[in-house]
């Protein structure tokens, strides 16, 4: 990974801010979709696609690319916006989100946008797919593999049994090049995660599966990138990064409110939010 300079951090912060603006513009135009999760994960996506990942937007199907599996597909506005800002899609196309015929389906669909590693939306299935990819790569390339496998999940998503079946397998298989990044924003649809189905002590639970677990501030580029570097350096077990994020991050009025999980901003709300982001 390239060295993280102060100048690069500044660039990452600006990029994340632009991505957040795109997310808001997309959602206002689409008139439906999820707001809180995408805004909260903008920094992690930026750190991945603009610093940590081995990838090439000019050659999206490059065999040696790192794989990113978005398990919590409902946060796809941040994925689409990041892909656009990273050169995979024209930024104008973002305005087609959720519309009939768009490549940017309401939840990611590979049939419409083949550069996606997988389709998602129904929760709880991404980790297993990432494990399948990593195991196939290990069988094919053994120790010579140069790829990293990343899976992004939500914290509410942890309620799904499939996730824990996959944890057992990832623990057993000791997949050193697998990194699970969990959006710990404490919200899901019906309320705060600790009221709906408590996860705590979450870090300890994951450690018990024999993972290398780090819990970090998911809005601090130094911390995010340091954590990804550490995860890459651990090769005898899978890594987990619990990214503590603020749902709705960047728009003060929307932050930490589960009500923003699944609704888009109105035109007026969007303008207010864009003003706030542009003034940074």
């Amino acid at each position: 990974m390239e060295k993280l300079t102060d100048q690069k951090i500044k660039f990452l912060e600006e990029t994340a801010n632009n991505i957040r603006q795109s997310i808001i513009e997309m959602l206002v135009e689409a008139k439906s979709g999820h707001t809180a999760g995408p805004l909260g994960m903008a920094d992690v996506f930026t750190a991945l696609f603009f610093h940590a990942l081995k990838h090439n937007s000019k050659e999206p199907f490059w065999e040696e690319r790192d794989r990113v599996v978005l398990s919590n597909g409902h946060i796809c506005p941040v994925y689409y916006a990041t892909l656009a800002h990273a050169g995979y899609l024209p930024t104008e196309e973002l305005m087609t989100l959720r519309k009939f015929g768009s490549r940017l389906q309401g939840h990611p669909h590979r049939e419409f946008l083949p550069i996606l590693e997988t389709s998602s939306g129904p929760l709880g299935c991404g980790l297993s797919q990432a494990i399948g990819m990593a195991l196939a790569d290990r069988i094919k390339n053994g120790k010579n593999s140069t790829k990293q496998f990343y899976v992004l999940m939500g914290d509410g998503e942890q309620d799904e049994g499939n996730v824990w079946e996959a944890y057992l397998l990832a623990g057993k298989e000791k997949i050193g090049n697998l990194t699970m990044i969990i959006d710990r924003n404490n919200i899901q649809i019906d309320g705060f995660t600790e009221n709906i189905l408590p996860l705590e002590p979450f870090k300890q639970k994951l450690e018990a599966f024999n993972f290398d677990v780090q819990e970090i501030d998911g809005h601090d580029f130094n911390k995010i990138i340091e954590a990804i570097e550490k995860a890459q350096s651990v090769t005898d077990k899978a890594s987990v990064i619990i990214a503590d994020t603020i749902p709705g991050k960047g728009v003060k009025e929307w932050e930490n409110k589960f009500e923003w999980h699944g609704k888009p901003p109105t035109k007026e709300e969007g303008e207010m939010a864009l003003k706030e982001l542009r003034s940074r």
Partner: protein, 331 residues
């Protein structure tokens, strides 16, 4: 013309016909049933408001269990709740329940003969912008193949309320699946419209009917609009509302197909295995007749508005009218 005995909404063909999602009828029915029967326990998987279970959950918080986003657990916990003599109602999106937890429903609920009401929301392409992952087009097929299970697909919010109340009454002793929609759709029936699980109703009957249109769910509305337009063009039809897909009212279906000798089935579901297939099973055995199937033809859904998608997948009024003309030519 509209069968007067069906007592349909008098505003049905007017521009300002009321639009209410069927899920709302379920939520209201559950609340009404819950007020009468203390045995009823609601369980939900992190979709309490959008599946309209919040009406019940707010009124009876002590009889509501929040399961979290875990549909397999939702079905299996409900089976345990039923084992203790309570009457569980589970709700989620149909793609996840019964989509994800089908085997759990089959074994721990139906095989065990536990009475549970399974409410599948967000069915059909009319779910809209969320896209194909969230548009259940297979749930009728999945559910009608399970022994012991009743399958109901109400045509509007009023019927959804009645079906929910009846499913939770002592009249029904088996588990029940109720199929619901997200979007607002026209109110077709009234309080007086006859409804009974296991019965088909005749909603429309022209003087000299040539085709029997059998529809289920909110597309019953499109079927009725088609029937009226066809009648103006001199083509008579009968429209049946087949909300009770299982058990299926063979007698009424056969009687009404005998009058015409041709059938068009209409459903917001895969043609394979759906309501049309259930009708074809009955007619194949007792009164073979040509059938045209309106429904999704081996495709996944996608993002769009309800109307765009209904048109795109060939379930609009124009498509139904074409199918009617086609089936007449096949007689």
């Amino acid at each position: 013309m509209i069968n007067i005995n069906s007592k349909l909404n008098s505003k049905i063909f007017e521009k300002d016909v009321e639009l209410v999602p069927t899920r709302k009828g379920f939520g209201e029915g559950l609340l009404i049933a819950g007020e009468k029967d203390e045995k009823i326990i609601g369980l939900c998987a992190d979709l309490t408001e959008s599946t309209q279970m919040h009406l019940f959950a707010k009124k009876f918080p002590e009889r509501f269990i929040e399961i979290g986003v875990s549909e397999q657990n939702l079905a299996t916990v409900a089976s345990g709740v039923a084992a203790m003599g309570s009457l569980p109602v589970i709700s989620s999106y149909a793609m996840f329940s019964p989509g994800r937890n089908w085997e759990q429903i089959r074994t721990t609920i139906c095989y065990n003969d536990r009475k549970v009401l399974v409410a599948g929301n967000h069915t059909g392409v009319s779910v809209g912008p969320d896209g194909g992952t969230h548009q259940a087009l297979e749930d009728i097929a999945l559910m009608r193949v399970i022994p012991n299970l009743v399958v109901v697909s109400p045509c509007d919010a009023i019927e959804a309320r009645k079906a929910t109340i009846e499913a939770l009454s002592s009249k029904i002793t088996t588990p029940v699946y109720i199929r619901l929609g997200r979007e607002k759709t026209p109110i077709i029936t009234t309080e007086e419209t006859p409804f009974e699980i296991g019965k088909v109703s005749v909603f429309y009957e022209s003087k000299k009917p040539e085709v029997t249109i059998i529809a289920t769910g909110s597309l019953v509305y499109n079927a009725l609009v088609s029937a009226r337009e066809l009648e103006e063009d001199g083509v008579g039809t009968i429209v049946l509302n087949l909300s009770s897909i299982k058990p299926i009212d063979k007698k009424t279906i056969i009687e009404n197909v005998q009058k015409t000798g041709a059938v068009v089935t209409v459903e917001e579901h895969q043609v394979a295995g759906g309501m049309g297939s259930a009708v074809a099973e009955v007619l194949g055995e007792f009164f073979p007749a040509p059938i045209e199937f309106i429904g999704v033809k081996d495709k996944f859904g996608q993002s769009g508005t309800m109307n765009e998608l209904i048109e795109h997948y060939g379930m609009g009024v124009k498509d139904i009218k074409e199918a009617v003309m086609k089936v007449i030519s096949r007689k």
